[in-house]
């Protein structure tokens, strides 16, 4: 019985670590390019999040399934090919389903293939764990990534456009801070969110001491 319990908490930890503890963006600082590039609108962020989630889940599952078949020396190229295949699938699907969002960010969707998070998870986790754990890991990381992207894009869209998912939140007569949707705004947002995460960590560290 004890065994099962630890297993269960283990599973939950596998799932939840991507939310905060090992948040891919704010803590591990991986996969930053798409995060910054597409986070000017919440809509874009969601599109990117879903595509990313899809590729990460599929590649993690596939790699953990075929891990025994791949010789060690060529594993990285193999991983890349698997990931690239799923990116192609995601890219074609999005082109078909949400063409206008895709048109805005096709470059960054294609670049998911070199996203360090996905390759990193494949190398560090999926190639060493079973399918179920790998899937949980992917879900956790995917949710963590998408949520982070959502937070960043929400901040940027609200301050930079005065809207949220296209709905006006801030009255027209208060001018939005346009710079937030430009490149510097992306850097500032992520910089200060990282500082916030640091602050929380410092506070927690002090309490535990």
């Amino acid at each position: 019985m004890g065994q099962e319990e630890t297993n269960n908490t283990g599973y939950f930890k596998e799932l939840s670590k991507g939310f905060i503890r090992e948040n891919p963006i704010f803590i591990l600082c991986l996969g930053l390019c798409p995060t910054l590039a597409v986070s000017n609108l919440v809509e874009n962020a969601f599109g990117m999040g879903i595509a990313f989630f899809f590729v990460l889940l599929c590649s993690n599952i596939t790699i953990s399934l075929v891990q025994k078949l791949i010789p060690d020396e060529v594993r990285i190229p193999c991983f890349i090919v698997i990931i690239a295949a799923f990116v192609t699938v995601a890219s074609l699907l999005m082109q078909w389903l949400i063409p206008d969002v895709y048109a805005r960010m096709s470059l960054y969707i294609n670049l998911i293939v070199v996203n360090c998070i996905i390759l990193g998870r494949a190398e560090a986790f999926a190639s060493k764990n079973n399918v179920f754990r790998s899937a949980l890991d992917a879900v956790g990381m995917g949710v963590g990534f998408t949520a982070s992207l959502f937070i960043i894009s929400a901040i940027r869209e609200v301050t930079g456009f005065g809207t949220f998912l296209g709905f006006r939140l801030i009255p027209e007569n208060i001018k939005p801070i346009t710079i937030m949707i430009l490149a510097p705004g992306a850097f500032f947002t992520i910089g200060f969110l990282m500082a916030l995460f640091n602050l929380i960590r410092i506070k927690k560290g002090k309490v535990s001491k």
């Binding site: 390019c33 294609n110 670049l111 430009l182 510097p184 910089g191 410092i202």
Partner: protein, 198 residues
């Protein structure tokens, strides 16, 4: 191709649409390897080299293989494979031919495979210059200039980070937080180049 076009391409890829400060490509190595100027320089040179060559190779591959055989949907797989094997080849070649250079650049080369700036410039090239005349030359030049822009960004950031090591940065801002704030301020300065007429 006129000199004006070359200058326009240069200004565009180095300043106006800098890969780091405007296009957000190659951020992982940018924040990872910009701690000190010598490594930033090494990474910069490696990126310039690989980006130039990758631009040339992928454009040719796309124009003369993928388009004629109607395989453009395979471009992601094809490009990443070409770049990965190219980087591998370069590394082996350097190791044999120029061991000294390999020692200084060697550690950066494997990182470049997953540098999205390299793949990014390949994708940009085929969308921008697919049908243009001088497409090959423009692609190669864009790759080269984008690499220069990347190196410039690396050098600027590494200089600042060396200086920040001695600054009394607040505890919460330490680490990558202040790097991103700095990058934001640099990209504000780079906004000055927007709307360049050439």
């Amino acid at each position: 191709m006129t000199l004006g076009q070359i200058i326009a391409l240069f200004m565009g890829s180095v300043f106006v649409q800098n890969f780091i400060f405007s296009r957000f490509l190659g951020l992982c190595p940018y924040v990872g390897v910009s701690k000190d100027t010598p490594s930033a320089m090494g990474m910069g040179f490696a990126v310039v080299f690989v980006m130039t060559m990758a631009s040339a190779v992928t454009w040719g591959l796309y124009r003369y293989v993928l388009i004629p055989f109607d395989l453009t949907y395979l471009k992601i797989v094809a490009f990443i494979l070409v770049i990965a094997s190219f980087v591998q080849f370069v590394e082996m070649f350097l190791k044999k031919a120029f061991p000294a250079l390999h020692r200084s650049l060697g550690i950066y080369l494997p990182l470049i495979t997953t540098n999205c700036a390299v793949l990014g410039v390949a994708f940009l090239n085929i969308t921008q210059f697919e049908t243009e005349s001088y497409g090959f030359a423009k692609s190669t030049l864009q790759g080269f200039f984008a690499g220069i822009g990347f190196m410039l960004a690396m050098l600027i950031m590494s200089g600042i980070r060396e200086k920040l090591e001695y600054a009394e940065i607040p505890e919460a801002m330490k680490g990558l937080a202040i790097v991103f704030i700095t990058a934001g301020l640099i990209s504000i300065a780079f906004l000055g180049f927007s709307g360049f007429k050439l």
